[in-house]
Symmetry: C2
Subunit: 99 residues, 2 copies
DNA sequence: TTGGAATATCGGAAAAAGTCGATATATATT
DNA sequence: AATATATATCGACTTTTTCCGATATTCCAA
């Protein structure tokens, strides 16, 4: 069941916050310098904002990615994460019809 | 955060199944005899279908209720649970706008 | 008013998730 | 090639969740 994995990914305060921050990267990550925001936000920036260790945030981001809620792009030594908007639209529909 | 409680409630295979079963009580609980389906389905019927113990299913139903996803009606010695449909519509909107 | 049936609550064992520090890997720079 | 930086992965510990059996509560029926 894919939806179970999605709901588990959403069952954590920090992960929900990360998703919300990524809705407006310019506002929430003004310090990012190595890339424009089209590719997303790098792990380090998210880590600082989350106030958790690097390993934890990296793990959280892969949980979100495995659930399909974000996607990543590697650029040089940075990995940028951004929201996968179609997944949220789909989830909204799943709730209306399948759940 | 209310939405966190909702997602936690949805992060369990059996609880997701219960919600789906309750979408069509006539189909999924044909053996219920003590009441019509307007009030919902009693705990015992859900328990048998879930294949878990009575205490576990009772607990699961209160988790769903605390999250606002179902509501209960006591009739005699039975407690009937049914879906709270507006909560799902609201959740669908939350995902479109807040998450 | 006593016994039985349905549900709720409690306490605990096992599994899963959260979180960290240490280490590994990948990439860039010198 | 050596070093530095960003990210990923690993192992361990703690907290939370899952799920059970036992017990308590509520309501009905005899």
């Amino acid at each position: 069941m894919k939806q179970l994995e999605i709901f588990k990914a959403l069952s954590n305060k920090t992960r929900l916050e990360i998703l919300q921050w990524l809705k407006d990267p310019e506002l929430n990550f003004p310090d990012q310098i190595h890339a424009g925001f089209e590719v997303g936000v790098c792990v380090g920036q998210i880590q600082v904002k989350a106030g958790l260790t690097q390993s934890t945030v990296s793990e959280y981001l892969s949980i979100l990615q495995r659930a399909g809620l974000v996607e990543s792009t590697r650029v040089g030594q940075w990995t940028y994460y951004k929201r996968n908007e179609p997944a949220f639209e789909e989830l909204s529909k799943i709730i209306q019809s399948d759940i």
